[in-house]
């Protein structure tokens, strides 16, 4: 039964959402759903039998007025007891075997899979495509009708990657790699969740999966690969805000409110003036004296990205992971510029302005260490 559904799935279509299951958009989805329906059917039958007997006996054999003495009744019946032990045993063995088949399909990645490296950290996902040297954040773009294998690692605690439409899930464990594969069958947009509890913003550790036909997929990868190189200098702060900030957003607000980390609002002013106070009581100004490590204020922002544990701002825990190696130099430039010009990019409430006025001197700044 399940192998038949497997063959239907190869036709490359998605299944509609049902009462029980969301839409299915991977090759294994019909297989999992068929198994689920089979178990449901067994459950319906047993449940109906049990409840019918329960209600029938409760009504038929209710204690009536004046019924004050009782029959002894049988104490056991070996044949009956063996029968009702044997039948469920056979059924669960069948269930186990069907479940095993599906599990092996779910876990056995085909050889020609398209590889993606996944990094999970509180509370964001990073997807890296080695084939195109592209890194995506909070969005995962995959080709349709081609097996995709995710090689996953965690920077901090346990996470778990779950895409309901694909019926796949795998924990992401710090200190080792885990992997997962699927073959999406239908171009579209699907939800990706973190399903292993990871703290404050666990429920915001989401990503969107975009399934594209191979041609479109290649085109998009090509575009993403060149994006940060081709973006004009004047657009870098906006690029950082729209394309990079989503990885910061779960901890750093734009409106001045405190979250897991300090707000980006006013961050540049605090940095330039050296008023930031650290957990050890020292201030940034101490480190900014001539010849100090951060005599150029931009260097403090840069260090906070690649080595965030070096100095923890007072009132916060050192929850931030390092982005060393995950960001290209030009992306770091963009983030520094974004923080520097944030007051021109967003309004007081932290809403992104449509046409920011960055002034004329912007493009030259921060280009000192640009090596693209």
């Amino acid at each position: 039964m399940t192998s038949l559904l497997m063959m239907l799935a190869a036709a490359g279509t998605s299944t509609e959402a049902t009462f029980w299951m969301p839409e299915g958009a991977s090759t294994v989805a019909p297989d999992v759903d068929g198994l689920f329906d089979f178990i449901n059917l067994i459950c319906y039958i047993f449940f109906a039998l049990v409840v019918a007997a329960l209600i029938w006996f409760a009504i038929r054999y209710r204690q009536r007025k004046g019924q004050h003495t009782f029959e002894g009744g049988p104490t056991h019946n070996m044949a009956l007891e063996i029968t009702w032990t044997a039948i469920p045993t056979v059924i669960v063995v069948v269930m186990f075997i069907l479940g095993l088949q599906t599990f092996l399909d779910l876990r056995t990645s085909p050889g020609n899979a398209y590889d993606i490296n996944v990094t999970a950290q509180k509370w964001s996902w990073t997807f890296q495509h080695p084939e195109f040297a592209v890194t995506e954040a909070a969005e995962l773009t995959v080709p349709a009708n081609r097996p995709v294998r995710l090689l996953m690692g965690s920077q901090d605690v346990l996470h778990s990657l779950f895409v309901p439409a694909f019926r796949v899930k795998q924990d992401v464990v710090p200190g080792r790699y885990t992997s997962l594969w699927f073959e999406a069958t239908q171009p579209g947009t699907y939800q990706l969740y973190c399903t292993e509890y990871c703290g404050k913003d666990h429920s915001l550790m989401l990503a969107t999966v975009h399934v594209l036909e191979w041609d479109e997929f290649q085109a998009k990868m090509g575009k993403l690969a060149r994006e940060y190189e081709e973006i004009p200098e004047s657009q870098l702060p906006s690029y950082a805000l729209t394309r990079l900030y989503n990885r910061c957003a779960s901890c750093h607000t734009l409106d001045g409110s405190s979250s897991t980390g300090p707000s980006f609002k006013g961050l540049w002013e605090r940095t330039a003036e050296g008023t930031t106070v650290f957990t050890d009581g020292s201030t940034l100004a101490d480190l900014q004296k001539p010849g100090g490590v951060y005599d150029i204020p931009e260097n403090y922002i840069r260090a906070s990205l690649v080595n965030p544990q070096a100095h923890i701002v007072q009132g916060y825990t050192g929850a931030m992971p390092s982005f060393q190696g995950q960001l290209k130099e030009r992306q770091i430039d963009a983030l520094v510029l974004m923080i520097k010009h944030l007051d021109k990019l967003v309004d007081d409430q932290g809403n992104i302005l449509e046409n920011p006025d960055l002034g004329s001197e912007t493009p030259q700044e921060g280009a000192a260490d640009d090596n693209g």
Partner: protein
């Protein structure tokens, strides 16, 4: 406690409640009945607290963005709900509260084997509970009741209340171990003449099987929690990969206890149901031997299935397959117990009173809880369902809808014995209806939530599927309010019965186990004369007596007292 109160008029009938007076006589009592009653009050207090956290959680999820709490607050609410309900409520509920009261009387003993140890267990429970509450005020607790590593041992992740909470769970573990040990020794050593193993009521078999798990599994939890404390406090690498540890190892240790713990919760409940169904159907239990042995079998198998909590954890695929297979083997004895209960009702004389309604409610709910375990035990479907609301619904059907429903049913069943008063039966039936409807509305919705993809432990559910999820969440929250109302009404009429309830006869339901042979409430030493041990499920020898408002021995059946004594 041996000081008999001589002030005031002596009660007409001396019982354990009136035997001695004053707060001291309760707090330092060695009487298993008083200790059981103190457990009952304490556990119900914790149940109230855990229930309030549950209502906060459900209210939060009315809207996709989350209605009343931020992420940190929600995480504390669900953590404390889970930790309180597991460690402070369900695990001690039936064995420590009802078991303590009923076990020695059912057995025909005067007390448990080690009354002082029993009192010590109770006070350990209190100390453990204090530590739990302390965790709230020492930085909060947001790890989930499972304390998964490395989150729980990472100073930068979990809140600072982890160590008090772990200490609390560690202490509660010892309370549980001592209770289990006490019960094992009591059943082995204190059975009076005539009380052979296979004459014991099935509740005792269930408590005995439970005690074995408590004694063998809980030390593993204790050691694991101690390792967590050491790792978090001193930075010694055991489970944290940053320090060279292995986070999946923690999951193995944790579930090696916590899966058997599921049976610490459900086995005593099954024991209660076996007795409730038989007594209130006035019909001999069907398949006594099978039910008794299946309790022991389940206790043993429960140690071999922990890995089914870890199908997506990164454990080896071969191990995963083996655990799936063994998991199915536990399904069989559970299924057969349901058939046995139904066969007991067949051709019975079924009283539609509150304990029986809870018994039938249990069969309905446990059937759903058990059957949905099949979806989770099956590998292919578990991958999709793991860590979603489907799992949440499944274990609430088993732990709340089955274990706690049986506990509430048991409270009603033994209420006349414990308090000497009858509660109002009509209010009881009405409250049961609310509890039953509220429960199913709350948790059946969560099956669909989970299979549609809603992950558990989410403070909000904004995303592409929020419109699918929200109606189910609203239904679930409404259900939880109905459920809460049912429990509040239950508390109301039970408390009212203490003041205005009709006095209970010795045997108001028609039970034949020994607790129905002593007065309600029982005397301090349980029996004023040696009880007669017989087939505790043969109800054909009893008849209703209108004047007594209870069941008495039939005059036309010879009383077996003489034969029994000789036979042993």
């Amino acid at each position: 406690m041996t000081t008999v109160d001589t002030r005031g008029p002596a009660p007409v009938l001396d019982n354990y409640l009136t035997h001695s007076r004053g707060l001291r006589s309760w707090l330092l009592t060695l009487d298993h009945k008083r200790i059981g009653l103190m457990y009952l009050v304490s556990v119900l207090g914790a149940f109230f607290l855990g229930g309030m956290f549950a209502l906060l959680v459900r209210t939060q999820l009315l809207t996709p963005e989350g209605l009343i709490m931020d992420g940190d607050q929600y995480n504390q609410a669900f953590t404390l709900h889970g930790a309180i309900m597991v460690f402070l409520v369900i695990i001690p509920s039936v064995p420590a509260a009802l078991g303590n009261f009923v076990l020695p009387i059912m057995l025909g003993a005067k007390d448990v084997a080690f009354p002082r140890l029993n009192l010590f267990s109770y006070w350990l429970w209190i100390v453990g509970a204090i530590f739990f509450v302390l965790s709230l005020f020492t930085g909060g607790l947001d790890t989930g009741w499972t304390f998964y590593t490395p989150y729980s041992v990472d100073q930068g992740s979990a809140m600072a209340g982890v160590i008090p909470a772990l200490t609390g769970a560690f202490i509660l573990g010892f309370s549980s171990i001592f209770t289990g040990m006490n019960f094992i020794v009591t059943i082995h050593r204190l059975r009076p003449p005539g009380m052979t193993w296979f004459r014991m009521p099935l509740f005792l078999w269930a408590i005995y099987a439970t005690a074995i798990i408590q004694v063998l599994a809980t030390p593993v939890l204790g050691i694991t929690l101690a390792l967590l404390i050491v790792e978090r406090a001193f930075g010694i690498g055991i489970f944290n990969p940053v320090l060279g540890g292995d986070p999946v190892l923690y999951q193995h240790f944790f579930w090696f206890y916590s899966h058997p713990a599921v049976y610490i919760m459900i086995l005593p409940a099954m024991g209660i149901i076996s007795d409730l169904i038989a007594v209130h159907s006035h019909r001999h239990i069907f398949g006594y031997g099978f039910i008794a042995w299946s309790s022991i079998a389940i206790a043993i198998f429960s140690f071999l299935v922990w890995g089914h909590h870890m199908f997506t954890s990164g454990q080896s695929e071969l191990v995963t397959v083996v655990f799936s297979l063994i998991t199915f083997s536990v399904a069989i004895p559970s299924a057969v117990k349901v058939f046995n209960w139904l066969a007991t009702m067949y051709k019975g004389t079924i009283s539609w009173n509150t304990p029986m309604l809870y018994g039938m409610g249990f069969i309905f709910i446990f059937t759903i809880g058990g059957l949905t375990g099949l979806h989770l035990g099956t590998l292919g479907t578990d991958i999709h369902l793991h860590d979603t609301y489907f799992v949440v619904a499944h274990f609430h059907y088993v732990m709340m809808g089955s274990a706690l429903i049986a506990f509430i049913g048991g409270i009603h069943h033994w209420w006349p014995k414990m308090t000497g008063r009858m509660y109002n039966e009509n209010w009881g039936r009405f409250a049961f209806a609310l509890v039953f409807i509220g429960f199913n509305l709350t948790f059946f919705s969560q099956f669909m939530l989970g299979s549609q993809g809603m992950p558990r432990r989410y403070a909000s559910y904004v995303g592409l599927q929020q419109d699918v999820f929200q109606p189910y969440h609203i239904a679930s929250t409404i259900g939880s309010y109905v459920l809460a109302l049912g429990f509040f009404i239950t508390a109301g009429y039970l408390i009212q019965s203490l003041i205005g309830g009709r006095r209970a006869s010795a045997n108001p339901w028609g039970g034949r186990s020994l607790e129905w042979q002593c007065t309600s409430p029982p005397p301090h030493d349980n029996f004023s004369e040696a009880p007669t041990v017989g087939d505790c499920y043969d109800f054909s020898v009893l008849r209703w007596d209108e004047q007594e408002q209870g069941y008495v021995w039939r005059e036309d059946v010879p009383h077996p007292q003489q034969e029994e004594v000789e036979a042993t």
